[in-house]
Symmetry: C2
Subunit: 217 residues, 2 copies
DNA sequence: ACCTGAACACCGTTCAAGT
DNA sequence: ACCTGAACACCGTTCAAGT
């Protein structure tokens, strides 16, 4: 398939363009120019603009797939994928949010989800709950890196000062903590640890001592 | 401030346009036409296109703010906000993803975060961990509704069939479960319950019986 | 089979001009 | 103070034409 090589070449260039100048800079015209060709020459290979963005999702998932391991404990395997997902987001901050907004239906995507399913099953999560827990974990992972990439987490400091303190009592109580600049690497690790704890206490190690309470209405 | 009324009017129309025809249909020209005015007439009120989108974020947060309650247990208060966030996403599926990609710095945004901080403090989460846990919970909530709105969760069924089963063993093992169409309302409730359990077991009710294990490298 | 060039129907935004 | 109309520099995409 010589056309697939050309498609890969185009997607590589598109991802590079997104990394260097942002997702908004990935236009058919700019991408074509980068490849020394006309915008219209891209269409036979990638479909339309939407197809190009779907291609970027596939391209990133392919980059994530090597993080799938067969050795190690199920917990280690989940963590490896979680960490690799954030490393991917660091390499491609502009393109990464596409993963949250576009369904991935390629073989690579299914393989990745299959690895997560397998690890959750090995951890003792009942079959009926596995897809839900996979969605919970992947949603958090994709959402976290997207928030980081878009600066959603860095907004607090700007605005805290210009606000009447008596209207935000909890902010006042946390003022010392909020002064400190967070270590995002450490925070992500702590989040993964909490989520692993959740899975473990909920299903793996509950020798009858844990009763899940009904939620209040 | 008569100009603030006009701004609110413009934002209401923009949100309506997004609800009816998608976020891509919210162009300066289309919005102006809906208001019976020229595109250029919008600029003094909302800044530029970016200011318009920031305004939509504020508009949605204002709609979410009434979910903040002072009565009830801290857990009930967290759940009320989590449920209201998803109800908001149902009303505004196209605009909702903006919450994940744009920092919110309005007074309403700070008030909302303050309510979450207060509930977590009341639950017994140590001050040093409160901002992190708030980010974990809000990231999940925003990411989940964004995934739902964009159809990320509905992709599996399409592709499962056309895949060689021996390459995805966990999918095969889960085939019965994966046949069933998920109840998204129930799934979201179960996710909230698991996250509440995580917070409770991690901090509120750990009378020394829970030792957080170090994560494997 | 693969690429080009001109054209079409859109964008956001600037700017001078109107009232 | 608020709005308009024309214009500019862009978009994605169609289509006939080239080789």
């Amino acid at each position: 398939m010589p056309d697939d090589d050309r498609k890969r070449q185009i997607l590589d260039a598109a991802l590079e363009l997104a990394d260097e100048r942002g997702l908004a800079a990935v236009t058919m015209r700019a991408l074509a120019q980068k490849l020394g060709v006309t915008a219209m020459a891209l269409y036979p290979h990638i479909g339309d603009k939407d197809g190009l963005l779907d291609g970027l999702v596939d391209r990133m998932l392919a980059e994530l797939l090597p993080a799938v391991a067969t050795h190690g404990t199920p917990e280690q395997r989940l963590l490896a994928i979680g960490r690799a997902a954030r490393a991917l987001a660091r390499r491609h901050p502009s393109a990464y949010p596409l993963l949250l907004s576009r369904p991935a239906v390629t073989p690579d995507a299914v393989r990745l989800v299959d690895a997560l399913y397998a690890a959750l099953l090995d951890l003792g999560v009942p079959a009926g709950e596995v897809p839900r827990v996979e969605r919970l974990l992947s949603t958090f992972t994709l959402g976290y890196a997207t928030s980081e990439a878009n600066g959603r987490f860095s907004a607090g400091a700007i605005n805290r000062a210009q606000f009447p303190e008596d209207q935000v009592p909890a902010h006042r109580e946390l003022s010392e903590v909020l002064e400190r600049a967070p270590d995002w690497d450490a925070e992500y690790e702590a989040d993964l640890a909490d989520l692993m704890l959740m899975v473990r206490t909920r299903w793996s190690e509950n020798d009858g001592w844990l009763k899940l309470q009904a939620l209040p209405e």
